[in-house]
Symmetry: C2
Subunit: 243 residues, 2 copies
C-alpha cells in the first residue's frame, strides 16, 4: 500500500508521499513515489503514484522514454495539465490491460492511481487525481486536496485544517500529521516521507523539497507532540453522565 496526498493552496501546490512498497509481507521495500518532470521556466510537473508497482514503474518509464525520443505527445508538448492527465490515464490503462488477465495468481491486481499537479507557463496551477480507469477529477473548492492509496486514516485532519487560503507552513505540517496518522494505523505505509512545495508562477526550479527519514528529528518531535496534544484534546472533552 501507499499514501500520497497533494494540496492546492492559493499560494502554491504541496505534495507529500511515503516510500513503502509491499507485495506480500516478505517483499517490503522502499521506492520513491514522487516523480518530477519540470522544465525550468516553462513547466512544473509532479506526479505521485499508488497501486501496482510494476504498473506505476512501466508508466513512469514510458513517460521518460516518450520525452527522450521526442514522441509527438510527451510531457513537454501539451498546453494544459489536464491534457497531460488524459495522456497519463491512457498510458496507465494500456499498461494495466496488458497484464490484467495474464497472472496465474488469484487476487492479482494491476491497478494504479496517480496524482498529477503542476503549471504550464501562461496557465494557472492545476491538480488532478487520475483513476485506474484513466479518467480524472480535480479538487473541490472547499476541500482543496486529493489523496491516493491508504486515504482514510489521514483524511479527518485534512478536512478540519486545509482550506484554499491556509498558509504554507500549516498545510505542510498538516500533510505530515496526516501521513503520520496513516503510518501509525497501517503498517504498509512507511518512511522516508517526501515533501515538495511548488510556489505559484515560480517555475525557475522544480520546487522546494525535503526528504524525512524514519528518525528525522522534526518528524519525531511532531509525532510525540501530536500524541500528547491529542490526549489532552480528548481529556478536555465534556464528561458523559451515566447512561
Amino acid at each position: 500500500m501507499t499514501y500520497c496526498l497533494a494540496i492546492q493552496l492559493d499560494q502554491g501546490l504541496v505534495f507529500c508521499s511515503d516510500s513503502r512498497t509491499n507485495a506480500g509481507p516478505d517483499r517490503v521495500s522502499t521506492y520513491s513515489k514522487m516523480h518530477r518532470f519540470s522544465v525550468p521556466g516553462e513547466r512544473q510537473l509532479v506526479m505521485l503514484a499508488a497501486g501496482n508497482l510494476a504498473t506505476t514503474q512501466a508508466v513512469m518509464a514510458t513517460l521518460e522514454r516518450d520525452i527522450k525520443e521526442g514522441a509527438e505527445l510527451n510531457l513537454h508538448t501539451p498546453d494544459y495539465v489536464s491534457d497531460i492527465a488524459d495522456y497519463v490515464g491512457e498510458l496507465s490503462v494500456k499498461t494495466q490491460q496488458k497484464y490484467a488477465d495474464s497472472g496465474p495468481e488469484s487476487g492479482f491486481n494491476a491497478e494504479a492511481t496517480f496524482i498529477l499537479g503542476g503549471q504550464i507557463k501562461g496557465q494557472e496551477q492545476e491538480l488532478y487525481l487520475i483513476y485506474a480507469e484513466g479518467n480524472h477529477i480535480t479538487i473541490s473548492g472547499q476541500f482543496p486536496y486529493l489523496q491516493i492509496g491508504e486515504t482514510k486514516y489521514g483524511k479527518p485532519i485534512l478536512d478540519r485544517i486545509i482550506r484554499p487560503d491556509t498558509n504554507l507552513e500549516t498545510a505542510m505540517r498538516c500533510a505530515l500529521v496526516s501521513m503520520d496518522s496513516t503510518m501509525r494505523s497501517n503498517a504498509t505505509v512507511g518512511p522516508p516521507i517526501e515533501l515538495l512545495y511548488c510556489p505559484k508562477d515560480l517555475m525557475e526550479k522544480s520546487g522546494n523539497y525535503r526528504k524525512f527519514a524514519e528518525n528525522d528529528e522534526y518528524l519525531l518531535k511532531l509525532r510525540e507532540a501530536w500524541d500528547v496534544n491529542i490526549h489532552k484534546a480528548f481529556n478536555d472533552l465534556p464528561e458523559l453522565e451515566e447512561l
Copy 2:
C-alpha cells in the same frame, strides 16, 4: 454503510452503533443495528450488525425464531459465547449463499459481519467479530476493541485511548468521538447513535442503554469541543522550518 464498535474493558463491555442504512443514495433509512438477546440472571448477549441489510435482518429473524420454536441450538442453549459465534457464523453464511448468485444486478453483495459480545453465567465476558465467511476472532490483549463497517476513520483515536484498564466513562466517550469522526468523514454513517454498557458479572438486566438523537445536547457539545480541541492540538505542534 455502517459503523459499529465494541470494547472489552476489565470492568465490562461497551457497545456503540450508528443507525443509517443505504442501498444507493435514494434508499437511505434508519434501522437499529444493536440487538439484545439477554436472559436476566442467566446470560447477557448483544449483537451489532453491518453489511447487507437483507442478510442481517434474515439472520436476526432466524435467531429469534429459533428461540421461539425451542430449536435444539438457539441463543439460549450454548454454554459458551464462542459456540454462539459459531452458530451465528453458520446462519450468516447460509443466508448469504442463498442470495449470492441470484441478483440480476452487478455489484450485488450479500455479505454481512457481526460483533457478538456477552457473558454466560459462570463464565467470563467474551467478545467476537464474526466475518462474512462465518469464522471469528476475539480482541487482542493490548487493543481490546473490535469494529465492523466503516472502520478506518474512527480507529486512530481508539488506538490512542483504549486499553483494558481504561475507565468506563473514558471508554464510552472515546466510542462517541470515534463514531463522530466517522460520521463527519462518511455520509453513509449517521444518527441516532446507540450506546450500551454491560457490567461484568451483573446480568440482572440487559445493560445500561442510551440512544443519542442527531440533536442530542451532549453529542453536539462533544462534537463542538472536539473540533475546537483538535484545532488547538494541531496549532500547538512544533512549526516546520522551510524546506
